[in-house]
């Protein structure tokens, strides 16, 4: 880790967003992760996405569990709300927070251990419930903090740094997410910000459960020649399904990709997503085809990236439970105790 403070000096010509802030206003503390860790690039992509969306820092809550990945919320958006929870239990905390105040952006950051091992149960149920949040799994296939054991997402053919075989099948988090009801499922790579930043922007704009599985190499334990989650392996085996453009509200779509090659989606916040498909026949609106595509690529030894599945019918837990529109902290006594007349009405409805 670096011992010096990140210099406060910044480029005078940095672009400003609608709030008059620069990207650097969205930074956090200097990272204490290993130099070259993919997670730092993900943090940087989150910073850029929030900057581009002009999100006021106090309107976002960042949540995490335990692990290298779960340390990262310290390294971005240092003026936002944050909750560093128990290992694998970030979904519970996110659910509670979201039910109490539906007006915030919820950004969960987790890792493959936190998500696919200790927290797998919580992960499954939060997707079933379609909680309105962005869940980013920084996936490096290894337990970095405990010195490099295989995690549940490490591919079976991927050996350890010292050449030890991996005995178990891996969990494909993206396939699992589609299966269990996530409405927005993507996969990306920490080393490809051109792809990752638009995905995070789109996920933050999406209403419902948005999951991004980010392959984020562990430079210390899983970036060697026999790893399938190294910078080099990923760059050689990456198969993008398409590019995503996020068009802000009131802006025209300027690029024409040609008939059948792009899908336009109106997002509930007024912006538009344009998915430019590399393969005409690919339909990201079908769960069955999306899962099939993941499996096909896997069989070919490729890693599919981009926006893999999108449910355009945006719906979240609040819609299902018919909860109050207002955040709980804004409810007045009158709202909570509406009086005898109202109570009688309620009671009458049961008779």
């Amino acid at each position: 880790m670096s011992f010096i403070k990140k210099p406060i000096a910044r480029h005078p010509n940095l672009p400003k967003n609608k709030l008059g802030l620069t990207r650097r206003d969205y930074e956090g503390a200097l990272s204490t992760l290993c130099a070259g860790c993919g997670h730092d690039s993900v943090s940087s992509a989150i910073i850029e996405a929030c900057f581009q969306l002009s999100i006021p820092a106090h309107r976002l809550a960042k949540l995490s569990g335990i692990g290298c990945s779960s340390k990262t919320p310290t390294y971005f958006l240092n003026k936002s709300h944050g909750f560093n929870s128990v290992h694998g239990r970030m979904p519970s905390v996110a659910t509670g927070a979201n039910l109490a105040n539906r007006d915030l952006y919820y950004l969960g950051v987790s890792g493959d251990g936190d998500t696919a091992s200790i927290g797998l149960g919580q992960f499954c149920h939060i997707m079933r419930r379609r909680l309105n949040m962005v869940y980013i799994c920084e996936n490096n296939g290894t337990y970095g903090l405990t010195k490099g054991q295989f995690s549940a997402t490490n591919d079976k053919e991927s050996k350890s740094r010292k050449g030890v075989d991996n005995m178990f099948e891996s969990i494909d988090l993206a396939a699992l997410a589609i299966q269990l009801g996530a409405g927005f499922v993507a996969r990306s790579f920490s080393g490809d910000k051109d792809q990752l930043i638009p995905l995070i922007r789109a996920a933050l704009s999406y209403k419902g459960f948005a999951f991004i599985d980010v392959i984020s190499p562990c430079v210390t334990f899983n970036n060697h020649a026999q790893s399938t989650k190294s910078y080099e392996y990923f760059r050689e085996h990456n198969e993008a399904v398409g590019f995503l453009d996020v068009i802000p509200e009131n802006e025209e779509i300027s690029v024409n990709y040609g008939e059948g090659k792009s899908i336009e989606v109106n997002v509930h916040d007024g912006s538009k997503m344009v998915l430019h498909k590399l393969n005409k026949s690919y339909d990201p609106g079908s769960r069955r085809k999306a899962i099939g595509k993941i499996n096909d690529s896997r069989d070919k030894g490729e890693i599919i990236t981009g926006l893999i599945y999108l449910d355009q019918n945006e719906e979240d837990l609040h819609d299902t439970l018919l909860t109050t529109e207002k955040p709980l902290n804004q409810l007045k006594k009158k709202d909570l105790s509406p009086g005898l007349k109202k109570l009688r009405q309620v009671n009458k409805s049961f008779s």
């Binding site: 990140k6 406060i8 000096a9 480029h11 010509n13 940095l14 672009p15 130099a35 730092d40 080393g191």
Partner: protein, 593 residues
């Protein structure tokens, strides 16, 4: 763009903005680090080797390094490089044993140096250790030239000046004082292997407007006045003094005048104040002494009564700029009459070469100036060299020193019958500063400190005695704090393509967004395509060879803080912080095998 050739020493040299801007290429960051470490003697010696007069320059330099300082672009105020140099001079220890000695056995070559100003002294310093016999001829009874006659003692105390002049003369230089050369033709008959002319630009410009002759008694040429004060021929001046001119000499004149009894001293400048030639800090000092500066006033007439100066008549003008040229247009306001007892004219200096006959082989060009080779300092008469203000008109001390180094190299080559065009190469080395995982042999943190003001002596004392130095200089604590502001631009970010895994860590951490990994293009396109467009065309782009993803690394050198975070966050050591040391060639490098 083609990959940057970092093996060319001038590439990294240019990144060290201060050193690049310094005519003598003093290794500034190196001596600032030594000052921070309390190694004042070492800091002084680096300066002495490079610019010969650290104590003098630490007080009087025109500081081309400071506007160039990267800190100006990063946060406005440059590092106080000049005043740190003074710290090295003030606090240095014993240095006599570090000064090179002239060999007892001479090489048999005799060099004449005309004028005992900074340029001739510096030539002598470079040549003496090589065994040359140097003889200086000086008009005045003391050495120093304009450093003594034109710079007042309240800016440059005599002791400092004497110390640094004597250090050179004590190497065994023969000086003939009170000797003005009247005929160069005659002089050249003497037995010298080479002659160096460093006689400066000793003639102050005059202003021929009505009343000039009649009021001659009370109208003084600025530099002559300052010289007379320095030699104590003049000890007082009238109550009301008008100084004409907006350069540093004007500032020295007005500040000297209030020390000699002037009560109402005013400066009148033809141009707007922003166009004044004086350095900002000199103007500031004059204003701190409550001397008003009136802009846009053109003197039209010296008004006199009974043969005595009464007042100066000024026409008011305004400046108009067209095609980069300034025109002063009269505003039509009534002529302003300003009463005065004395006028000091500091409106420029000229060279005076009436003592050089036109038929001796020295060709003269424009403005009656000798034709001098820009690199070799040689005139059209091969054994005669020029330097300092006498080469191309008034410049400054540090430029004179730079000329001196080149002239000394040329004289040495000339005396050894070698080609003057084959210049010796600078001393350069590049070495890693890495000491541990995240430890470097320099302090890479960014100091969030504003430039420290130099403390001043009590004006009651300084205004009463022209010999009391106004600036007190930094104490050791302040010097340490100010030194920490230096960004260590000589510690270079060196990129090694074959180690890079393109993880983006350096891009993410760089506080100034200098680093990019993008598709290569031509320079103009690259300048636009990077994260924050590189609009400062004076600063280079550092471009790598092609990386595995077919992209290149492009670094905009403009605002790099040299904080080393790119190297600290690099997992493979593709970035390294390497100290680049550049020391310009001097005469002892010239004839080496």
């Amino acid at each position: 763009m083609k990959p940057t050739k970092i093996s060319n020493p001038e590439y990294f040299h240019k990144v060290v903005d201060c050193q690049w801007a310094c005519p003598a290429h003093t290794p500034v960051p190196e001596y600032i680090r030594l000052i921070a470490a309390g190694r004042y003697t070492d800091a002084y010696m680096i300066n002495w080797e490079s610019n010969v007069f650290p104590g003098i320059l630490g007080r009087t330099c025109d500081r081309p390094c400071e506007p160039a300082c990267r800190r100006v672009r990063v946060e406005d105020e440059p590092v106080a490089i000049c005043r740190l140099k003074r710290v090295a001079a003030d606090y240095k220890g014993e240095i006599d044993h570090l000064i090179p000695k002239a060999p007892e056995q001479k090489n048999g070559k005799k060099i004449a140096l005309l004028g005992a100003g900074p340029v001739s002294l510096a030539v002598a310093r470079d040549l003496m250790p090589l065994g040359y016999e140097c003889k200086i001829f000086e008009r005045d009874p003391v050495p120093g030239g304009l450093m003594r006659t034109n710079i007042p003692s309240f800016r440059l105390p005599e002791e400092v000046l004497n110390e640094e002049c004597d250090r050179i003369i004590n190497m065994g230089v023969e000086v003939q004082y009170n000797k003005e050369i009247k005929s160069f033709k005659e002089f050249l008959k003497e037995d010298f292997d080479a002659v160096f002319v460093g006689t400066g630009a000793p003639k102050g410009k005059d202003l021929n407007i009505p009343g000039r002759e009649e009021c001659d008694k009370n109208i003084h040429i600025g530099i002559d006045f300052l010289a007379s004060v320095a030699f104590e021929h003049v000890k007082k001046i009238g109550k009301k003094v008008i100084v004409l001119g907006g350069g540093n000499t004007a500032m020295d004149c007005c500040r000297t005048a209030i020390r000699l009894g002037g009560k109402d001293v005013r400066v009148y400048v033809r141009s707007p104040k922003v166009d004044m030639k004086a350095s900002d800090w000199e103007i500031e000092e004059a204003e701190m002494e409550n001397i008003p500066i009136y802009e846009n006033h053109v003197p039209k007439e010296f008004i006199h009564e009974n043969g005595k100066l009464k007042a100066v008549a000024f026409e008011k003008v305004k400046a108009e700029y067209k095609d980069g040229r300034r025109k002063l247009i009269p505003t039509g306001e009534p002529i302003e009459i300003v009463e005065c007892d004395d006028v000091l004219m500091a409106i420029g200096q000229d060279n005076a070469f009436e003592w050089i006959e036109k038929d001796i082989g020295i060709e003269f060009g424009e403005w009656d100036m000798p034709i001098v080779d820009r690199t070799t300092m040689q005139s059209t008469l091969p054994k005669v060299f020029f330097g300092g203000d006498s080469a191309w008109g008034p410049e400054n001390i540090i430029t004179a020193v730079a000329h001196a180094h080149q002239a000394a190299i040329s004289i040495d080559l000339f005396c050894n019958n070698k080609s003057l065009k084959k210049r010796p190469q600078p001393h350069v080395f590049l070495e890693s500063t890495k000491m541990g995982l995240h430890e470097w042999s320099y302090d890479n943190g960014y100091a969030e400190v504003d430039r420290l003001a130099v403390p001043h002596a009590d004006p009651k004392v300084t205004l009463a005695d022209r010999k009391v130095e106004v600036e007190l200089g930094y104490d050791d604590r302040m010097a340490f704090e100010e030194a920490a502001r230096c960004l260590n631009c000589d510690v270079q970010t060196v990129f090694e393509e074959k180690r890079c895994i393109e993880c983006d860590a350096c891009v993410d951490i760089c506080p100034e967004d200098c680093i990019n990994f993008i598709q290569n293009a031509d320079e103009q396109e690259l300048r636009e395509d990077i994260r924050v467009p590189a609009l400062n065309l004076a600063q280079d782009l550092y471009v790598s060879r092609k990386l595995p993803t077919k992209r290149v690394m492009v670094k905009d050198e403009d605002l790099c803080l040299h904080c080393g975070l790119c190297a600290e966050r690099c997992p493979t050591g593709a970035w390294d912080m390497q100290k680049f040391f550049y020391f310009g060639a001097q005469s002892h490098d010239g004839c080496k095998k």
